[in-house]
């Protein structure tokens, strides 16, 4: 079994690193394709708006024992009650029938009675929903209003929280990306859009933001460290942050998706379309897309946005120089052959220290961070009198400090 926590450890220390930042073009291209597909879906196929937007009546019969020929029977019953137009009926969970028709208005009761007779159920057990024609419009207006208010508030909060507009912009782009892709998926698969799914879409924004906040928090922490130590470029620090939060992102996403999955399963098999299913479908799609975008879109975009900043350019130059020199140093001193892994470097672990990334030309960071203390050594570890392995720093006694090159050589 693949040891998840082992992968987590490797990602954390940077031993195993997925290059999220360096391959940003790939992710951008992938998302562009997604968005293009979404746009095709939205504009070519169109969205399948539910009855709430069109106006009409929906009847729900429970406890129907005989559902054979339900379509014909429902149509006949609706026609009998004097409602014209199309009749759409579906069977849900084996014993429930959902009948959609034009707005029943005054004939609501008549339709209920007719349906009850046709399907042999008690009229009081029939649920009827009547939706006026202007309802959908007001719902859409509200949703758009909520969307705008939410986006404004979120930009404000992000700008205050992260204190840089670039992070806010990257987060917002990810947000819009999620929304477009989710709506596109709805269009492509022909899922019905109801007011519930609209609320779901809006909730997605919250989740997407949540994911982004988690990742950006770590990015900020790491980059502050990088700026302090001047060892890594901004891109490297950000990439390490994404890798370090990857396990957490996966875990949080899975945990958020699991209850929704449960609702989806129960909803599809038993409940049929309704508030529960609509909301959870939108959330399921949206949370999955949101997790993707916070890792693959938001962070690379943030790095790209900040790439041109003089301070960061200077930092990168310095880090590159430093790393190159340290790589040279480690090559010359055999004790350090590729043992330590700096952030965002080789995808394979040892020996191949020459795997160089586009934006991270340096190979190695010989830095005595705590998590690298135990990095394996290729040469035989020293052993004490009892034959137990002794850590390199403890080998010659506790006072032996890690060696750093003198200041003139740094």
């Amino acid at each position: 079994m693949v040891n998840v926590s082992q992968i987590g450890n490797d990602l954390y220390t940077g031993k195993r690193s997925i290059d999220f930042i360096g391959r940003q073009k790939r992710w951008y291209a992938f998302s562009a394709v997604l968005i293009a597909l979404a746009m095709i879906g939205i504009f070519a196929r169109g969205l399948n708006f539910g009855i709430e937007f069109r106006g009409g009546s929906e009847f729900r019969l429970t406890g129907v024992t005989d559902t054979s020929g339900y379509e014909e029977r429902a149509r006949a019953a609706i026609a009998q009650s004097g409602i014209g137009g199309n009749v759409l009926s579906t069977v849900i969970g084996g014993t429930s029938v959902r009948v959609q028709s034009e707005a029943a208005g005054e004939r609501n009761e008549a339709a209920k009675t007719a349906l009850a007779q046709t399907f042999g159920v008690d009229p009081t057990t029939i649920s009827a929903s009547l939706i006026g024609p202007s309802w959908g419009q007001s719902v859409s207006e509200k949703a758009i209003q909520a969307l705008i208010v939410f986006l404004l508030l979120v930009s404000l909060v992000m700008a205050i929280y992260f204190r840089t507009w670039k992070m806010a912009v990257a987060g917002l782009v990810a947000l819009v990306h999620d929304l477009v892709v989710t709506v596109g998926i709805y269009a492509l698969f022909g899922f019905e859009i109801t007011p519930s799914s609209m609320i779901g879409f809006l909730t997605i924004l919250g989740y997407s933001l949540y994911d982004t906040v988690v990742v950006f928090d770590k990015v900020r922490e790491n980059t502050a460290e990088a700026v302090g130590s001047r060892r890594y470029s901004y891109a490297q620090a950000a990439n390490l942050a994404v890798n370090q939060t990857l396990v957490r992102s996966i875990n949080t996403t899975v945990v958020a998706l699991l209850p929704i999955l449960a609702i989806l399963i129960v909803g599809f098999t038993k409940l049929g379309p309704g508030t529960l299913l609509d909301l959870s479908l939108a959330l399921f799609v949206g949370i999955a897309v949101g997790a993707y975008s916070s890792i693959f879109i938001a962070t690379p975009l943030l790095v790209d946005l900040r790439r041109g900043e003089p301070a960061l350019l200077e930092l990168e130059k310095h880090a590159t120089k430093l790393q190159a020199r340290e790589a040279e140093l480690s090559r010359s001193t055999p004790r350090h052959t590729g043992a330590q892994d700096g952030p965002g470097k080789q995808t394979r672990a040892r020996g191949t220290a020459t795997t160089i990334l586009a934006d991270a030309p340096a190979a190695d960071g010989q830095e005595p961070d705590a998590h690298e203390l135990g990095a394996p050594q290729d040469d035989e570890p020293q052993r004490d009198a009892l034959g137990r392995p002794v850590h390199k720093w403890a080998a010659t006694g506790p006072r032996n400090q890690p060696k750093r090159p003198p200041r003139s050589r740094r």
Partner: protein, 602 residues
């Protein structure tokens, strides 16, 4: 557990949480014992069964926007109608600054529903005949019921004995003062109460009434003519019992014909002449203390009514006719203000009001005057209601939905528990315990809010709760991962927990703030019943925060001191070796560096 002084703070926090939960449930218990609270959260209509209608008020000019005041007025109108139809436990609320939501348990009949959503109209009609709202069956009770009518109507603010006077009142100041102190004599008081039988009414109200139906003049000369009272109307009037719910539903509000109706407090019933003015004739209505002739406020509360130019002309004609009747017929001197077929006030006319500025005085309190003024003001804009949605949910469907929703929630919870056990081993149990605490808290809070703020759990709300399982578990994961990070850095567990907490706290706070923000925005702007989703999501976010701070963190820091977790047992989920912390400083200049390393890095 040993009384470890290092965990004293954490233990104290746990006690605080326990006390909070105890207080919460004690509150529910007390509210249940001495109040009306139930021991379960209140269910929404879609789970309980019932009818929910969403109405949108539309002004005569459909493009004109509805102001908040108008919406409130519209809600009051609807609530009034619901009450007058005797619908029990109905709720009328506004939603999203635009809609009115009416929730009625059970299945009301179609006629009641139509009554509730008919257009609203304010009209002025002259009074022809009055009687007590509740038919008097005992013929001997004439005098007592007279007293009763006076007694009941005097203190209730809704039926003051109001008078129309000129505004400014200088011209008719003496009359107003008189009338304010001694309510003007009304037909109901001067004449013996009418018996419900036709004969009683005819006999009681004097010779003019007696002759009117019998002559049945085909062409009434003016709006106050008794010729409006046909035999049919007389029968309706006699049989009308205002105390019955929906008593006036059957009567047709035809502007050109007489109308039989009740006052809104059901204490009086009327036959009214045809409509002479309507709401559109009103320019404005205000309330306040009447000013005396020298401009000083007096203690008399009045409702000032400004008519438009057209309205002023009409009103002049009406008042001059009614004022002329003052001496001969106190009943027909009154001019009724009718909102939705029900009389909200029927002041006597004490002057000919020619300047279009009338003042109504009587036994008003400042609140009742304001209420009347608002009714008049918003009555100036006739409203109709368009039916946006109507949902009839059968109780069986609601129950089924609730059961399935809970089933889904249970499975969701199981999945989350299983996943966190796999990921975090025994630490996953902390997740389970925290989720249980969160669930208990949510149950308590929703129950208490159901009682205090009438929060009802709808299907959307259930969805919100289920979805929030994920959100809540998220914050545990953020926290645990942080601890693991710190362990990987080589920290011993006890310090790793503290360091991890101080870092995770920020992230959890930020994430919860974002969720709360989303919930609040959705709640305020949601146009449909999915509001419940936003509400429970918001409540659960707050509960999540409380649970993480008051339960999960203290629990983990106590557990960090146990041998099992602190010693890094293989199943604890915090085993430093599994987490790749290959070197730990163990003090005295020594590091613990486990021998097994080769298999650790595949």
């Amino acid at each position: 557990m040993a009384r470890n002084p290092r965990t004293r703070g954490a233990r104290r926090t746990l006690w605080v949480l326990l006390a909070l939960v105890a207080v919460l449930f004690a509150g529910i218990g007390a509210a249940h014992r001495w109040g009306t609270a139930e021991l379960t959260p209140k269910l929404g209509l879609d789970l309980e069964g019932g009818t929910q209608m969403v109405l949108e008020p539309v002004l005569a000019d459909p493009t004109a926007p509805i102001s908040a005041g108008q919406l409130d007025k519209a809600r009051d109108i609807i609530a009034q109608r619901v009450d007058s139809n005797g619908v029990a436990e109905a709720e009328v609320t506004t939603q999203g600054g635009r809609n009115i939501v009416i929730s009625i348990p059970g299945t009301p009949d179609a006629r009641t529903l139509n009554q509730i959503r008919k257009p609203s109209q304010l009209r002025f009609r002259p009074v022809l005949l009055t009687g007590p709202g509740i038919p008097v069956t005992d013929p001997g009770a004439t005098s007592t019921s007279t007293d009763g009518a006076t007694a009941t109507s005097a203190p209730t603010a809704t039926t003051p004995k109001p008078v129309f006077t000129m505004d400014p009142p200088a011209t008719s100041a003496p009359a107003t003062t008189n009338n304010a102190i001694v309510p003007p004599a009304l037909a109901a008081q001067t004449t013996p109460p009418t018996d419900p039988a036709t004969t009683g009414a005819t006999g009681a109200t004097g010779e003019s009434t007696a002759t009117a139906p019998s002559t049945a003049s085909p062409a009434p000369t003016d709006a106050s003519d008794f010729a409006w009272i046909t035999q049919e109307i007389q029968t309706e009037f006699a049989q009308l019992d205002c105390s019955k719910a929906g008593a006036v539903n059957d009567f047709v509000d035809e502007p050109t014909r007489a109308l039989v109706t009740c006052s809104t407090d059901r204490s009086e019933k009327y036959i009214l002449g045809p409509v002479e003015l309507d709401g559109t004739d009103i320019e404005d209505a205000t309330s306040g203390y009447q000013l005396s002739a020298n401009g000083q406020p007096t203690t008399i509360v009045e409702v000032r009514l400004d008519f438009t130019d057209v309205g002023a002309t009409k009103f002049t004609n009406v008042t001059s006719r009614l004022f002329a009747l003052k001496a001969s017929d106190e009943t027909r001197n009154r001019f009724a203000i009718v909102l939705d077929k029900q009389v909200i006030s029927a002041p006597s006319t004490n002057a000919v009001i020619a300047n279009g500025q009338a003042s109504i005085t009587g036994q008003f309190t400042i609140e009742s005057a304001r209420e009347l003024a608002q009714q008049l003001k918003f009555g100036a804009l006739p409203m109709s209601f368009t039916l946006q949605t109507q949902d009839d949910i059968s109780p069986t469907l609601g129950k089924e939905q609730l059961a399935l929703g809970l089933l889904a929630g249970f499975f969701g919870l199981l999945l989350v528990v299983a996943y966190s056990m796999v990921q975090y081993r025994m630490l996953g149990l902390v997740t389970v315990a925290s989720l249980v605490v969160a669930a208990v808290g949510a149950y308590g809070v929703l129950t208490l809010l159901g009682w205090s703020h009438n929060v009802r759990l709808t299907m959307a709300g259930v969805t919100g709760v289920i979805v929030s399982i994920g959100v809540t578990a998220d914050s545990f994961i953020v926290y645990f991962e942080r601890i693991r990070d710190e362990v990987r850095e080589g920290r011993p567990l006890v310090t790793a927990v503290d360091a991890g907490w101080s870092r995770a706290k920020r992230t959890i706070l930020a994430a919860d703030a974002v969720n709360l923000l989303a919930a609040v925005v959705l709640y305020l702007l949601a146009a449909s019943n999915v509001r419940g989703f936003a509400f429970t999501l918001g409540v659960m976010t707050l509960i999540d925060l409380a649970v993480v701070v008051l339960f999960t963190h203290p629990l983990v820091s106590i557990l960090a001191h146990t041998r099992f977790f602190g010693g890094g047992h293989r199943l604890s989920g915090l085993d430093p070796e599994r987490l790749g912390a290959k070197v730990r400083y163990v003090g005295r200049g020594r590091f613990s560096a486990p021998a097994v390393q080769a298999d650790g890095r595949a």
